[in-house]
Amino acid sequence: MRQAIVLQVNSERHYVSVRPGDTLAQVLRERLLLTGTKEGCGMGECGACSVLLDGRAVNSCLVLAVDAEGHEIVTIEGLGDRAAAAEGRAADGTLTLLQEAFVEHGAIHCGFCTPGMVVTATDYLENSPRRDREALMRAIEGNVCRCTGYITIVAAIESAQAAIEREPAALESAQAAVGAAE
């Protein structure tokens, strides 16, 4: 039994026919070929499949595709364009501040946890009512990384946070992005 749904992913509409049991992760990866979203466990224990659903990070392996209809989905592939749109720039493949920080701090090794980690941290930077070390760690607690020991990841997120707080424009654009998504 299949069902036709419309998914709004990275500001594009996709018409897909899915089974009721298909997860959002499966549909993103196997049907829309948006393989930037990784699947590490399929049971919500590793966070690799995190995507933004209406601006908030969710494990896409725990969301049914049919339930994602009518919501704004942003995957790792769409973060740069989303930031550009929020800043009124044309999409030019530029990395977000957070992505740049991940690169610079050596927070990326095998890269498999990276998309989920970046998506989760994006949610943290845009939405967390508290932004300190403890809150940051709580935010990424559900994202497993085996290559780095987390130190470089925490450093990368904190440095992006500092950059955003230094530049009100960046903060505004991040908030605008949230507004646009919602």
């Binding site: 393989t35 930037g36 990784k38 890269g111 990424i140 994202n143 290559c147 990841i153």
Partner: protein, 773 residues
């Protein structure tokens, strides 16, 4: 200067935008989704398999069983027992053993097909631990392995009996056990197979052992090696495990062959726990003799390794475990007796340290006990016995560089060891441990080196081809740094290709921390040759008959003629298009002057040996049994640090994996059944489990490794279990000789141990209770 500069991985931008392709991400037009049917029994004879109902399901394109594939038994290389098979046809030997495979148009159809395969099993007696497997009259897992012994290794060096009988020596003895843990790489095992019309097979695999898997896969399919091409995309972590030819590769290949369509299999995380290759669990009996002046005299080891249903890499593991730790300290008399035991559990594989964390856990505990007996500082005792540069160890290992004594001094200083030990606090303790690791361990008398090619395109960029795998550890970044250093061109102008057995040279595989040493030297030699060619070509282009050419900043200069110069691009372009010219393409070959490990004689199997010392500081909560790690101090002798950014994180990550192995991670079996399968339920550490870690390096330069470098990847994990167990003992007066040391075990120990032991100041105690959890 590219060497020594903190450098993010060269493909970081692709990875951070989700554009890197891993095997799990590969799609092909018409690609089918495969799944493997696994045995629900631990041990059973296959009576019959009926696939007809599965084959009739719409969307199912192929069903294969062990009766369809060539009935071949193969092993991890020719030196190992040939006991594995792609799909079982006679018996299943562990719960999760591969029985059949299906290919369908999507995953859910494939899963439905698995449920429709009817297998009739005749259950056989099961063997879940050493004792059951070794018991007289126990059922045999493999008919040709009497007593369920999968292999043995025994040898002696020096006169162990005389040493233990020497008057006045202190002798300590103990038994240590460790648990199974999974490597928990993030990308599950995966394979995409496709056949060309001329009968050639191409497999894309999430493994960095391309040459090895080509051989094993060809053997398991009874194909010539030349008809198999193995391609490696990005690999989402491995930590040693993914080097084997698990059933996934031949099964995927066969499904693709039968259907004439590309097929892909990706393990679920559950399958990872049931059917991949976790760390070996073992029982180590150890006895150590020391003279009253503190000098180590003799060691005797009896080791049992639970290798599960098939030997896999376990024979190599036994060999390495028998030798390695003996070279950390000066010790003249050694006796080793190791056995590999078949049980009805999944086979085991490599995991960061390759037996080293387990052996170190045992050896270093005895050093702590000896220090107590002799009333010595445990760090001081290690320093007294530490191997030093220029030493030839009891096994003949030639330590051309050794920073272990310096490493001990560094962690003593950085951790405030002396001061903190003087100021005792209740439930608070310090532990120290050290380790030695191999660099490029020779495992055959044949080719044991590495080969790389380098091409300079006419626009002055470098293309590097090596069969040595990148799996997230940063090999490509290291190789690019080496080329940047030699050719003085920017890192962005260097591309390192992923291994492809049609293109890249045969490579041994990524074990024994050999990629930087062996692969790095090969790349360096290729780059040096390219530099020489550039200089020759520059002389032609600039029409210089005599006069030296120098290379700097991506330009070739004529010394003494500052105006005469050309860029690397101009020279490469000229080389290609001048009369009788050609592309600048060089080969770098590395072959180490090592000898294969042979217990009968002295050998020097590694190009270089790496060392590390660690101090752990803990506070134990007596009410909850929780161990709070106040800090870990590490000092690493990996020779010259080529990339501090990656090296630091490698050490930090291995420390965290070591913490998981010591305190929480456990693939727990109850009556043979794996109780939990998943990251959370097996104790995988998260960000909150990472304590403050101080990462330092010794000032060592190895004469063999590129720019003086040695391996760093496997230094962080091995000392941790011993250092933490030592610190816990220092805090509560109880020494754990069994892993993991969970809060429950600590509470149990605290309630059963005398209050005297608990309340005492550990430094002045000379008695500690030993607890086997």
């Amino acid at each position: 200067m590219a060497i020594g500069k903190p450098t993010p991985v060269v493909d970081a931008r692709a990875k951070v935008t989700g554009r890197s392709e891993y095997t799990v991400d590969l799609h092909r037009p018409g690609m089918l989704y495969g799944k493997i049917l696994r045995s629900p029994h631990h041990h059973a004879r296959i009576v019959s398999i009926d696939t007809s109902a599965a084959a009739r399901i719409p969307g199912v394109k192929a069903v294969v069983t062990g009766f369809d594939l060539p009935r071949v038994r193969y092993g991890f290389g020719i030196r190992h027992r040939q006991d594995m098979c792609a799909l079982c046809w006679d018996k299943v030997r562990f719960k999760g053993d591969e029985v059949a495979a299906v290919a369908a148009v999507d995953e859910s159809t494939a899963a439905q097909a698995l449920d429709s395969i009817v297998v009739e099993y005749e259950p056989l007696p099961t063997l879940f631990d050493f004792d059951a497997a070794l018991a007289e009259g126990a059922t045999l897992l493999h008919d040709d392995a009497p007593g369920n012994i999968a292999g043995t290794l025994a040898f002696a060096k020096g006169d162990v009996d005389a040493a233990f009988a020497e008057p006045g020596v202190v002798v300590v003895e103990g038994t240590y056990t460790t648990q199974r843990v999974h490597q928990c790489y993030m990308e599950p095992m995966a394979c995409l197979a496709e056949w060309s019309p001329d009968g050639r097979l191409t497999v894309h695999i999430g493994s960095m052992n391309t040459s090895g898997i080509r051989s094993m896969l060809a053997a398991s399919l009874e194909m010539p090696i030349s008809k198999v091409r193995v391609v490696q995309p990005n690999v989402g972590g491995s930590f040693g495990s993914k080097v084997t030819n698990a059933g996934i590769y031949p099964a995927t290949a066969w499904l693709a062959k039968l259907t004439g369509r590309p097929a892909r299999i990706v393990y679920t995380r559950e399958e990872e726990y049931f059917a991949s290759r976790p760390r070996v669990n073992n029982r180590i009996w150890l006895k150590t003799a020391v003279r009253r002046d503190g000098s180590l005299l003799a060691r005797e080891v009896k080791l049992l390794n639970d290798v599960g249903a098939y030997v896999e890499m376990a024979a190599a593991m036994l060999e390495v475990m028998s030798h390695r730790s003996d070279s950390l300290y000066r010790i003249p008399n050694i006796r080793f007796d190791g056995r590999m035991v078949y049980t009805n559990r999944s086979p085991v594989g490599a995991y960061r340290g390759f037996g080293n964390p387990q052996m170190t856990f045992a050896y270093e505990e005895q050093l702590d006990r000896i220090a107590r007996e002799l009333n010595r500082d445990p760090l001081e005792l290690r320093l007294q016995n530490a191997s030093r540069q220029g030493d030839v160890s009891v096994h003949g290992w030639e330590l051309q560089s050794c920073g272990y004594p310096e490493a001990l001094e560094i962690v003593r200083e950085r951790s405030g060891w002396d001061r903190k030990r003087a100021e005792r606090k209740p439930y608070h303790g310090l532990g120290v441990a050290g380790t030695i690791h191999e660099g490029d361990d020779r495992h055959s008398t044949g080719f044991a080196g590495s080969e790389a090619t380098l091409e300079i395109t006419e626009d002055g960029r470098a293309l590097v081809t090596s069969g040595e795998g990148e799996f997230g550890q940063g090999a490509h970044t290291t190789f690019a740094q080496i080329v940047a250093e030699e050719l003085t061109i920017p890192l962005e102008d260097i591309t390192v290709r992923f291994p492809d057995t049609d293109v890249s040279a045969y490579a041994l595989g990524p074990w024994g921390s050999r990629i930087t040493i062996s692969g790095g030297n090969a790349v360096k030699f290729a780059a040096e040759a390219a530099r020489n060619q550039l200089m020759e070509e520059a002389a032609i282009l600039l029409d210089v008959r005599d006069g030296n050419i120098a290379l700097a900043g991506g330009r070739l200069f004529v010394e003494g003629h500052p105006t005469l110069s050309a860029s690397v691009a101009e020279v490469a372009h000229s080389a290609l298009y001048r009369l009788n010219g050609g592309i600048i393409r060089t080969v770098g070959k590395e072959e180490p002057f090592t000898s294969m490990m042979n217990p009968e004689i002295q050998s020097n199997p590694c190009s270089a040996y790496s060392f590390a010392a660690q101090v752990a500081e803990v506070t134990v909560d007596p009410d909850t049994g929780q161990v709070h790690i106040d800090g870990i101090w590490t000092a690493n002798d990996c020779g010259t640090v080529l990339n501090p950014l990656m090296a630091d994180a490698q050490v930090e990550a291995s420390v965290l994996q070591g913490i998981g192995f010591t305190l929480s991670e456990h693939m727990e079996y109850r009556r043979g059944h794996l109780r939990q399968a998943g990251f959370l339920r097996t104790g995988t550490p998260n960000v909150f489990d990472m304590p403050p870690v101080d990462v330092q390096y010794t000032d060592t330069c190895d004469p063999y490794g590129p720019y003086g470098a040695k391996g760093v990847a496997e230094l962080g994990q091995p000392p941790i279990p011993a250092a933490l167990a030592g610190a816990i003992e220092d805090a509560i007066g109880v020494r754990f000789t069994s892993l993991p040391i969970t809060p429950e075990e600590i509470l149990r120990a605290l309630t059963t141990t005398s209050s005297k032991a608990r309340a005492r100041g550990p430094a002045d105690a000379n008695h500690t209770e030993e607890v086997e959890s």
